[in-house]
């Protein structure tokens, strides 16, 4: 029985992790891509025909990625109940409030995406451009709401419970602006702009390497890359702040991701390395640097894993540490690439010529998604064994329904098909556009056919 429920818990966690990992890059596209479409459309309305063509093509991409994000998001709202009924029955009324707000933003986004995508030919240029603005705002609002709900799981607050655990009063503002909201929300919002920016620009970087260097492709690279270039330096600062806040708010998560075994001062910073029975191995360690990062002094005390029993610690420390380091390295690498781009722009007012710039840029989309996943692994795996930090254990929230490995297998196959379908479609669209098939379909904003 215990073995069965352990297996159930593992299956439920794996399914949740897989479906979230699939959904989040699409969510990033839903949050951040509309801004890039809006910029292109705005340039287009001011007379840039290439930008207008780009906005029109991108809006079709947006339709596909939004649809995939919408259906995979619906699956997640089912899964919250199907896989974690223990959490929903106890904290549904608290946790649900940010999702209620998210509903408004999602609804608005769906409505205006429909108006924008299907309004190219019949709406006036100005009205059409204007219809993209609510999409951008709703994307930001939706991200705020959902990430707030996750932040609440990390720092639950704004409610009281009676002796039997039933929630008796809720303070909505304290739920929404819980302790983790100020660092988790900006961190994810910026991540969305970075992921979407590098993802779209990497497509045009591949095009550049294949010799497609016309103005359309240069613009297609520059708009998203510039968005990511603005978000990345801010992200380094926000991420640094978030790590310090986690050392304070969730010290065991921090101890696991930084390999801090015993509470002490002069804690070394481990760069990679494998956690082996309380001792990191094979990594590079910088003496005292972890203490310095946490408290700006090597004398700063950092809480260690052994301050709580093993049953209150997250399991896979090496995974957490690798994820954290990888995220930081990718983010820092992005910064170097952006400096390269800025330097060339400053000297020559042009894009870099070196094929290495384009080779690196072409893998940045993938790297950004890896960094995104790493961040979520740190957040979610690092909170274990809790589903609601300090309040409810994941093992007590999981469903008793059997067969989760089966549903996971079905979901896996289905999502694999969904992924292949999405990629095949987007590539087919790109092929048609390269063949110039949308050129003779009429210019957008032309008078309606009579």
């Amino acid at each position: 029985m215990i073995a069965a429920s352990t297996s159930n818990l593992l299956a439920a966690r794996e399914q949740m992790a897989f479906t979230l990992a699939f959904h989040i890059p699409f969510a990033c596209m839903g949050i951040a891509f509309p801004l890039m479409v809006l910029i292109a459309n705005w340039l287009g309305v001011r007379g840039d025909a290439d930008a207008l063509r780009l906005a029109q093509r991108w809006s079709k991409v947006m339709a596909v990625t939004f649809a995939v994000g919408a259906v995979t998001g619906t699956v997640l709202s089912f899964e919250l109940g199907l896989l974690w009924p223990g959490m929903m029955s106890r904290y549904g009324e608290v946790f649900g409030i940010p999702f209620g707000i998210e509903g408004i933003f999602f609804f608005t986004e769906a409505i205006f995406i429909a108006i924008y995508i299907y309004g190219w030919k019949r709406l006036s240029p100005k009205l059409h451009l204007l219809s993209a603005v609510p999409i951008v705002i709703a994307g930001i609002g939706g991200a705020f709401s959902v990430v707030t709900a996750n932040a609440w799981m990390n720092q639950p607050g704004g409610f009281t419970q009676n002796a039997s655990g039933k929630v008796t009063s809720v303070n909505t503002l304290d739920v929404l602006f819980n302790h983790a909201t100020p660092y988790e929300v900006p961190h994810m919002l910026l991540a969305a702009y970075i992921v979407a920016g590098f993802l779209v620009s990497s497509v045009y970087a591949v095009g550049w390497l294949r010799g497609r260097r016309d103005r359309l492709h240069r613009l297609g690279f520059t708009i998203p890359f510039a968005v990511a270039a603005i978000a990345t330096p801010i992200q380094l600062f926000v991420g640094d702040t978030a790590a310090r806040a986690i050392a304070k708010d969730q010290p065991i998560k921090f101890a696991a991701m930084e390999y801090v075994q015993t509470t002490s001062t002069h804690v070394p910073e481990w760069i990679y390395g494998v956690y082996n029975g309380g001792k990191p191995k094979y990594g590079v360690s910088i003496p005292g640097f972890d203490s310095f990062l946490v408290g700006f002094s090597t004398d700063a005390t950092v809480t260690g894993l052994d301050s709580v029993p093993a049953s209150d610690q997250p399991g896979p420390k090496t995974l957490l540490h690798f994820s954290f380091d990888t995220m930081v390295f990718i983010g820092s690498g992005f910064m170097l690439l952006i400096l390269w781009w800025l330097f060339v722009w400053w000297r020559r007012r042009a894009l870099p010529k070196s094929p290495w710039f384009w080779r690196i840029s072409s893998v940045c989309g993938g790297l950004a998604i890896i960094a995104l996943w790493c961040g979520w692994i740190v957040t979610e795996v690092g909170r274990q064994p809790w589903i609601v930090y300090g309040k409810l254990r994941t093992a007590d929230a999981v469903t008793h329904s059997g067969g989760i490995w089966i549903t996971f297998a079905v979901v896996f196959v289905l999502y694999a098909a969904l992924f292949v379908g999405t990629i095949v479609l987007l590539r087919a669209m790109a092929r048609r556009w390269r063949a110039g098939e949308d050129v003779d379909q009429g210019v957008p904003y032309a008078p309606p056919p009579t």
């Binding site: 619906t74 709202s77 549904g92 649900g96 408004i104 409505i111």
Partner: protein, 332 residues
């Protein structure tokens, strides 16, 4: 009226909206499935595609709305439904993915084989999803879901007479509503042939729905006594309204289609509300009342604020979408 009552009413408005708008979407998929071979079915499929393309995602956000309000306002009821009806809800979620992806992909793919494959996924899922959602409703109405049921009732909870009947009823009703909407859509585009095509189908499914509804009364009597008593008791006016509207819509479809859509919608809405009134004061008859499941006052107040904000933001946006869609301003 307490804040709980208001939240319950708004939840029911959301359920009604999803039953009609989501139902019309699913039903359109049913007609897509039954439209025949690629060449013969091209024109009705084209109309279906044009009719639902701009609105299907917005229609399905009602489902998210209903789920979130249920889990926030009545968490124990949500958890009981999710724990007990794990199997049909998994199938429904599966259907939603297949349907959405199939539709979006078919819309943008060019090759016939690809369109056919994606179209098949869309159409088959359009039948399965409302069926499984219907079994969920039937299971709740017949008292098969309680706060203590769970994995042990994974199959028995939704395979009884009423759940299966309501599942079938959902598919037929969805097809009916969709056909009525598509009559209107075809008429709006001045396509007399398609108008006739869908009018025949609306009349046929309307008649079948009527017959199944009468069978449903017998099954309800045997399998869901509490809801049956409510339907012939306090909810009787709504049941009569639904029956009258159903018959009126049938007559209107034969003669004057202009008002058929509104009357048909009213017939479906009246059933949804009749169910709600018949079940009252239970969320899960007869084991969990609304008050037992209700969240704290603070949560209800927060939800009311969210509803007002939603009303102010979403209603005008949605109106704009529907107006533009009806004026055929949204075409690609």
């Amino acid at each position: 009226m307490t804040s709980t009552d208001v939240v319950l009413v708004v939840l029911w408005v959301g359920v009604t909206a999803y039953a009609i708008l989501g139902g019309a979407d699913f039903g359109a998929g049913v007609w897509d499935l039954l439209a025949g071979r690629a060449e013969a079915g091209r024109r009705p499929r084209d109309l279906i595609d044009r009719a639902i393309t701009p609105v299907w995602e917005a229609n399905h956000t009602w489902l998210i709305f209903d789920l979130v309000v249920l889990w926030t306002a009545f968490s124990p009821a949500f958890a009981a439904v999710m724990s007990t009806l794990f199997v049909p809800l998994c199938f429904a979620a599966l259907g939603i993915v297949l349907r959405g992806a199939g539709f979006a992909f078919r819309h943008v793919s060019e090759r016939l084989e690809a369109q056919r494959a994606f179209g098949a996924a869309f159409a088959v899922a359009s039948v399965l999803t409302p069926f499984f959602m219907g079994t969920v409703v039937g299971a709740v109405a017949s008292g098969r879901v309680t706060p203590t049921t769970g994995a042990d009732q994974a199959w028995s909870s939704w395979t009884g007479p009423l759940p299966l009947l309501v599942g079938v009823m959902f598919v037929i009703t969805s097809a009916y509503v969709a056909a009525v909407f598509l009559v209107h859509e075809a008429g709006h585009r001045g396509d007399a042939e398609l108008e006739r095509y869908f009018r025949v189908r609306a009349l046929a499914t309307g008649a079948v729905a009527g017959v199944v509804a009468i069978a449903g009364v017998i099954v309800l009597h045997a399998d869901a006594r509490y809801v049956y008593d409510g339907l012939v008791g306090k909810a009787l006016p709504l049941v009569i309204l639904s029956a009258v509207c159903g018959i009126a819509a049938f007559v209107l479809l034969l003669r004057e289609v202009r008002f058929a859509r509104g009357v048909a919608v009213l017939a479906v809405a009246a059933v949804v509300w009749a169910w709600g009134v018949a079940q009252n004061p239970y969320l899960l008859p007869k084991t969990l009342t609304v008050d037992q499941a209700a969240s704290s006052n603070d949560t209800m107040t927060a939800l009311l604020v969210i509803f007002v904000a939603a009303l102010l933001i979403i209603v005008p946006s949605l109106a704009l979408l529907f107006v533009l869609s009806q004026r055929s301003a949204l075409e690609d």
